[in-house]
């Protein structure tokens, strides 16, 4: 057992685990962030997707010892307090989930995409989301909800910009 420190969703944690423990199991078993899911253990399905310094990664293949000062954000930390992320709002509005198991990973991949691409095309969405399987087949709604969130975020941005200009 080795002691590691880790920042998850803005909080610092000290944990004693084996050095080869994947981030996934640290999150789920040690810290109780069970929103991040186990699906395959070989980075094929995307159910375990979290953000490492804002980038979507597969937590099932990243040993805790490989992490240094990076910060981790899980699905539990995506909302800004009581304000849901636009993706979460769209997931609800467009009734995306069926069984729901893969959706945390889907949303985290999509959030990483939108953080880097404000207005992704279908092809860019497909490329960014290619590593996230959905066995229930909710793909079309996922694509539509990502577009919806992008529009929502851009509208909010322009709204804020025009207001700030108006105040000047």
């Amino acid at each position: 057992m080795t002691q590691f420190s880790l920042t998850v969703n803005g909080e610092r944690y000290q944990i004693d685990v084996e050095a080869d423990t994947p981030l996934l199991w640290v999150l789920r078993d040690e810290l109780g962030f069970v929103g991040t899911k186990y699906g395959c253990g070989i980075a094929q399905c995307g159910a375990c997707t979290v953000h490492l310094d804002g980038v979507a990664v597969r937590s099932c293949v990243i040993p805790i010892s490989a992490l240094e000062a990076q910060t981790v954000v899980t699905i539990e930390g995506l909302a800004d307090g009581a304000n849901l992320h636009p993706l979460q709002e769209q997931w609800i509005k467009q009734d995306v989930p069926q069984c729901g198991y893969c959706q945390a990973g889907q949303i985290m991949s999509a959030a990483s995409l939108l953080a880097h691409n404000k207005n992704p095309s279908d092809a860019e969405i497909d490329q960014a989301m290619a590593g996230n399987y959905c066995r229930c087949g909710t793909y079309n709604r996922i694509r539509s909800a990502i577009h919806g969130a992008a529009e929502q975020m851009n509208a909010a941005f322009y709204d804020a910009t025009s207001k700030s200009q108006a105040s000047v």
């Binding site: 199991w25 069970v34 009734d95 198991y101």
Partner: protein, 755 residues
Amino acid sequence: MKKQIVEASAVVDSIRDAMANAVATRRGFLAAVGLAGGGMVIASLGPKLAFAESDPDLTLVSSEVLNAFIQVAPNGEITIYSANPEMGQGIKTALPMIIAEELGARWEDVTVLQSPVSEEQFGNQRAGGSTTIPRTWDQMRRMGASAREMFISAGALVMELPRAELKTADSKVVHASGRNMTFGQLATLAAKQDVPDADDLTFKDKDEYTIIGTSVSGVDNLVISTGAASFGIDTRVPDMLYAAYHKCPTIGGLVKSANLDAIKKMPGVIDAFVVEGNGDPRELLDGVAIVGKNTHAVFSAKKQLKVEWDTTDASHDSWTGLVDEAKSLHGSRGGEEIINKGDTETEFANSDNTVLAAFYEFPFVAHLCMEPMNCTAHYQKGQGVFDVDRLEIWAPTQGPARVYQIADSMFGLEEDQVIVHQPRLGGSFGRRVYREFLAEAIEISKRVNAPVKLTWTREDDIRHDFFRAGGFQSVKGAVDAGGKLVAFEDHFMGMETDGKAVSGSRFAATQFPLLNVENAYASKTMFDIDIPCGPWRAPGSNTTAFVVQSFLHELAHAGGRDYLDFLVEAMGEPRWFDEGNIRSLNTGRAVAVIKLAAEKAGWGKTLPAGRGLGLAFCFSHAAHVAEVAEVSVDANKKITVHQVTVAVDVGPIINMSGALSQVEGAVVDGLSTMMGQKITFENGAVQQSNFHDYDVLRIEDSPKVVTHFIQSEYSPTGLGEPALPPLAPAVTNAIFAATGQRVRKMPLTDEGYSI
């Protein structure tokens, strides 16, 4: 948790308001389990919490079965229990919608909770076979209508108005004059009213519906989208240990010895031991249990496990052997007759007819639920006569009440010694009708005398599935000089275990077109196997539709006919073969969906070279479904499915959004399966193990799906399965239309196609 309504016409603001309300609730939820503060508090989630939230004093009729489903608080909050397992099919939303409709509730006032497991209280709590909607339609309406009448009685007393002049709407009892009282105001009094006789209840006309038929967002979508949903695998209880269970890769192998001492020394491992099974894959097979401090410890130890297996009496099943045997039977009739009507031989011998024969093959496939099998069990040994053994179990299963049966038959526990919690299921598709992973968890918990969460690795999940049985069909048919179907013959080659056909491995005497065509013959040969098989989304139909709809298309083409005309003609005049039996084909409903799908897809339109339309129909699970696929095939046999147009008649739709989801999902699932999924086995061992060798369709290959419902006057039936079977033949018929190449074998990757 609060749910949101999403209607096509709903304004964003109202959704935001509802969401803000829901978020407040969610924050309370997170705080309760210690995550909001970021600590390490371990708490049990889900149904237990839900149960604790309910106050029996608020139950409208706490002592009666009737209305165990509904509670109304004085503040107007309406709690509706959903009693059946939710696995993605949407009944946790749809069933409460039916109750709320008859009650006269406003959906925004409704909170849905998963019910405790008690069939005495809630009736049948299974889910499967697309049966929940048809089975509970009347029951849910009675629950809602009964409570509605009790509210009206209460309202009549307080407002001193005749009952007959009152109705319910928007969570109020309303008089024509406009006078009204809210459900909240009347809740306590309503609970004391006489329970109406079920025979006296009347139901709303569909033109009075305000909830049924609308689009409602799933009641768990908020918790799913924020990571707070509690699946079985997310269960955490105090002092819980973690377990893995390793079974013989060869089905039925017994443990001779294992390197238990070495395993026990591995980091984080607490114990490792051999479990002696009873030989029944549905209950408990031999294996090695590893118990540890966390999942990583037991998964790592499992990789180092060295077991010497005794495979003397284990399975020797071989897929290639089955294929060879089946091919040798092509063209023959099976030993057991299914149907024999008219005279197929005369039609086949008639030189005016065109006669075709073909051999079709479909593989075994796995369920591949995104949530691998798992179970948390806490077996507590009693201390003596007055302190009996107890079991508390978090059971991700399609039949939660059946846990009581295995607790009794395998562990000798009476129902009152067992508490069953019902988590959300991360997919099932028929997989979780089996309960062996529950038995494994109970056994391991009992051995270590502690609460244990057993988690299967993905490799366990694929190798030890109850597979969709593969099989073969040798088919023969004749069309007359006018291109009309005059004879159809099928030799079905399926799988059986211990003399009993496995789930879905059947060709029914009522299978289309046996009843429709004048001359029909069907027979079967069953191969005995040990590989466990079970129901897989639309059992039987998901393979037979491929064979029958493909071969009928072959016959239509041979007869120079358009498939739409040929299929409608083969269906025959409008009739219901077994009047009143929803499991029986109704040719009028069939023709209506076939014509609608064709019309909406632009059947007959001119398409560029290499692009074609394929039509297919399937009647399964009481549903009439037709699909048209528009497919391109390039020179390298890479296919693109541009659009799938679906026409469905399952009667009235309860939740439009949920129904559309089921169709979209079934299309994607069907395409995923037909493209590249195949389980093979040699010498009794399954050869696939994870997503690297068992592929799932990705987002870029997901076709556009356009769905049309015929909301006929029949009672509503389920939609979890029946939109899947027509997909494969619609696509392969489109490939034929585009290229002239006939696909007679699944998956398509085996035939050189890619997507």
